[in-house]
Amino acid sequence: MEKACIDINQLINVFSNYEGAVYQSDKLNCFYVDFGGKFARYNCLSLQKLKKVVEEINIEALLLDTHRADFELVTFNGCEHIYLLNALEIIALKDLLHGTFTMFNLNHMVNDCLYRLVY
């Protein structure tokens, strides 16, 4: 999905690093990952799957294996998007998703405390 189609002002920046950013849409209950020249939409489950797939990439093995290119295709079953990333980009995506989920946890803690106080 192109960035131009979405009103960026309605999105909340969850986390960003030097290579990309993850946004949340409270209106559509989904996420947008701005990374590697793509602005891709994900739901909760698919974002978790993306994180799992990226975390499972062994960067050390990727760099040490001389029989294959230093690139990795990142996708999973049912995913509409595909990324072709080099080692540095994988590190950046790992960092981006790790930061994003840390922010989710932080947001959960804040929400949890607020709900308990209000209700």
């Binding site: 969850v14 949340q24 209950n29 989904c30 909760c44 989920f101 989710f104 947001n107 959960h108």
Partner: protein, 175 residues
Amino acid sequence: MKDLMRIKCLISQDIETLLNQQIKKEAHSSSLYLSMASWCNQNGYDFSSDYFTKQSEEERMHQLKLFKYVLDMGGNAISPEVTGIKTDFAGFREVFEDALEAEIAITQSFKNLASRCLKEQDFVTMEFLNWFLKEQREEEYKARRALELFEVIGEEGTGRWEIDKHVNDITYSED
């Protein structure tokens, strides 16, 4: 900002991972008990074979109970791969020693899970785990009592035959 992950799922990623690990452990136990049942049957310990078959069914039931909980809470329950099941045992006593060891490992694992729930203040999962913690009292009791038969009756003469005959008499009562 809405907590979208929470809207989708009641349990956290860490708890979900631990529950999936527990599902795998229960599946492993179920297979191990079945392997023990097979060994006992082949070596003429028919009553013990029945005992371990029943234990295997119970572990499978525990696995499915955990599996359903993860799904009911909106999580991703993973059907586990079970490998490395011990199929050969040095003797009748070793089977029961391994059974007790497996139960102790399961109890420890549940304690670890409960500890994580308390840390996260996930009282919903904690309440669910209470059933399993109670169940482990019975499981460990039965495994320990079975092993104690080897001390009480002894393995000499018709000892092992007597032990086999009494294994199914072991019952646990809270009162």
